[in-house]
């Protein structure tokens, strides 16, 4: 307990330095600015803005990136409420009641509740990360290659189950991602694999290139193809602060949303995605009058938004303690850390405590800044949303190109991104979800490494995964999760959750 306070105090002493507050503020602002553009989610935003942080010291860079992440999340919720376009999967639920509230002239309250709920969730999540950081790191240090491999398999099993649409297709995407991860020089023998003669591929495919192509470019292609009627709320935003009645209605949903989102966010395999859906379903089940949902129920904004933010933050836990990124955003964080020479994993906390605790404390600072500075600026974001898409997407394209070029100063990377943009378009046409592919790619290299080590240790005996209790347990969880998802009754309700 005293450790926790001491560590947090240490973190705040770093996060509250003038430079780091400024970086956090800049990150939150720029993140919101880009994230509020319809169709630009946190992944594309971070990939685009990664080069902004190259010149900073590692702690500052990660604080700024984390700020960009929250800003982009917040921007996504704003577009969900005001324009009915979710910036990313996790704010889909917010469109249901949030946009209805906006239509009824209560946009300000929806935004205010979302921000207040997120702030509360963020505060709790920061404490959870700080509390779990030390014990989980100790556990992680006990993990051998077999345990790591099994944990990642379990993560991928979750990702398959949590993906939208067909389980088989999601499995196919994971496999494709794992396959793409083997591109490049083999770590042990130094032989080149599947580089097709491109020298830039011998280091493997850059994750930012893949993510920007599959998410950024492909998203623009989809938007141009289906020019959806963007009905930016014409009415007034109204007041931002909810009244006593609103607050009373929201307290319980915010508490439940925080608990649900925070718990799911810790799961490897992008559990955070499920948080808002789960929270919405719970609130609807518990409501006295479920028919209000979908017609502007404030609980339908407060719960999911809190779950969203709590999950967004607790998904840092697997990255910071185990070194396993649970989703694409965290994989970009790995990229950023590696650029600064930090290898994410259990050693970060003991080797660079300033970075570890500074970043955790800055999460709270970032959430606070979002609340007190961004919310009043809502008028600015609304004006930005009224820019027609025909002007917006060329600007997004140029920013993306400059961002990708700057990561490695490589024009070839821009061409590869264009290629993956096309691949993303093809996948979309074939009804594939790109998210599992990215996760497979993210974990692929580490999984191969750990599997090879485990096999060497076990002298080629696959039974090592059965004899090792922790690994066996995790593999069993993976199997159970998939089996449950295939059961007819569950798969039906799973369809319902995703279509709702």
């Amino acid at each position: 307990m005293f450790d926790l306070i001491g560590n947090l105090a240490h973190g705040f002493s770093i996060a509250l330095s003038l430079q780091n507050i400024a970086l956090c503020f800049a990150g939150v602002m720029i993140g919101t600015l880009i994230g509020v553009l319809p169709g630009v989610g946190p992944i594309a935003t971070i990939a685009m803005l990664l080069p902004l942080t190259f010149k900073l010291d590692p702690t500052g860079a990660l604080i700024m990136l984390a700020g960009i992440y929250y800003g982009a999340q917040y921007g996504g919720s704003t577009t969900a409420i005001l324009v009915n376009i979710p910036g990313e999967a996790t704010s889909v639920v917010t469109t249901l009641d949030g946009h209805q509230m906006a239509k009824q002239g209560r946009a300000g309250i929806a935004l205010g509740v979302a921000a207040l709920g997120s702030f509360f969730a963020g505060t709790v999540a920061t404490l959870v990360i700080a509390a779990l950081g030390v014990p989980l790191t100790k556990v992680a240090l006990l993990f051998g290659p077999a345990e790591y491999f099994a944990l990642m398999v379990a993560g991928l099993a979750f990702a398959v189950v949590l993906a939208r649409g067909s389980l088989l297709k999601a499995t196919g995407m994971i496999l494709a991602g794992l396959l793409l991860a083997t591109i490049g020089t083999d770590l042990e023998t130094g032989e080149e694999r599947m580089t097709l003669g491109f020298s830039t591929l011998s280091d493997g495919l850059d994750f930012a290139v893949l993510a920007m192509g599959l998410f950024g470019f492909a998203e623009i292609l989809r938007n141009i193809e289906n020019p959806e009627a963007r009905d930016v709320t014409r009415g007034k935003i109204g007041r931002l602060l909810p009244n006593m009645d609103d607050i009373k209605r929201c307290i319980a949903p915010v508490l439940r949303g925080t608990a649900i989102g925070g718990a799911l966010g810790i799961l490897p395999g992008n559990g955070a995605v499920l948080g808002p859906f789960a929270s919405y379903t719970v609130e609807k089940k518990l409501a006295k009058d479920p028919s209000r949902f979908g017609r502007g129920a404030i609980e339908g904004v407060a719960g999911p938004e809190s779950a969203n933010n709590a999950g967004a933050q607790t998904s840092f836990i697997p990255l910071l303690t185990l070194g396993i990124p649970p989703n694409a955003v965290m994989a970009l964080m790995v990229g950023a850390m590696t650029i600064h020479g930090i290898i994410p994993g259990p050693l970060v906390m003991s080797k660079s405590p300033d970075l570890f605790w500074g970043m955790i404390a800055s999460m709270w600072v970032g959430n606070f800044l979002l609340l007190v500075i961004n919310l009043p600026l809502i008028g600015l974001w609304v004006r930005l949303l009224k820019v027609p898409y025909r002007l917006m997407f060329p600007a997004i394209m140029v920013f993306c190109c400059i961002g990708i070029y700057s990561i490695n100063n490589s024009p070839q990377d821009v061409l590869f991104t264009a290629f993956f943009g096309f691949a993303g378009y093809v996948l979309y046409k074939f009804g594939f979800e790109p998210a599992p592919l990215l996760l497979g790619y993210v974990l692929g290299r580490l999984m191969e490494e750990k599997l090879r080590q485990a096999m060497i240790l076990a002298r080629g005996d696959f039974m090592t995964f059965v004899y090792n209790p922790i690994a066996a347990g995790m593999l069993a969880v993976a199997v159970i999760v998939v089996v449950i998802a295939v059961l007819p009754s569950v798969s039906k309700s799973r369809d319902q959750v995703f279509t709702e």
Binding site: P51, L52, F54, K55, S166, L168, K169, G172, L175, A176, L179, T182, D186, E188, T189, E191, R193, M194, L196, F217, I220, L221, I224, E225, P227, P388, R390, L391, F393, P394, A395, M397, V398, F399, C400, C401, I402, Y405, S406, N409, P411, Q412, D413, V414, L415, A418, G421, F422, V426, K429, F430, G431, F432, E448, L451, M455, I456, G460, D461, F462
Partner: protein
């Protein structure tokens, strides 16, 4: 029974998806054919890619067989204007940014990508291209000092 349910391929989109996975796996198998597989005890460089490629092929077959058993969505219509100009603009940027600099590559990318939408007005796009270029030069090159060529043919950097 109606004609609809008698079709051999009941879910054309899934069939295409299955074939895509099979193709991807087959391509990877071909590329990795020359690599040492090694043994379970000591993996060679080709072991993982080969296993994964076969898994892709199997998943592809499973998706394809599913497409013959259950009804599913049709293939969506493809458009060419969007991909051509959007991806073309990125390619143009990649090809011109080194030799000609951002002063050429950025407006070129804006103009080309603008062509992707039928709502674009040419005059507006031209003005916007200039505005965006000035903004990007100011932000990325002069404020953030990123080493992007500006206009090597005119000012030497």
């Amino acid at each position: 029974m109606t004609q609809e349910t008698k079709r051999f391929i009941r879910a054309p989109q899934d069939m295409a998806a299955g074939l895509f996975l099979i193709g991807l796996g087959a391509f990877a198998l071909w590329q990795n054919a020359g690599l040492e597989r090694g043994t379970l005890r000591v993996f060679g460089p080709g072991m993982m890619p080969t296993i994964l490629a076969w898994a892709c092929v199997v998943a592809g077959f499973a998706v394809g067989i599913g497409a013959m058993l259950w009804n599913g969505p049709k293939l969506e219509r493809w458009t060419f204007r969007g991909p051509l100009f959007i991806l073309g603009s990125a390619v143009a940027f990649g090809l011109t940014v080194r030799p000609l600099g951002m002063a050429v590559a950025a407006p070129l990318a804006v103009l080309l990508s603008s062509m992707a939408s039928s709502e674009t007005k040419l005059g507006e796009a031209a003005i916007f291209a200039i505005v965006i270029t000035v903004f990007c030069l100011g932000l990325f090159r002069f404020m953030l000092n990123l080493p992007i060529p500006v206009a090597p043919w005119a000012i030497g950097y």
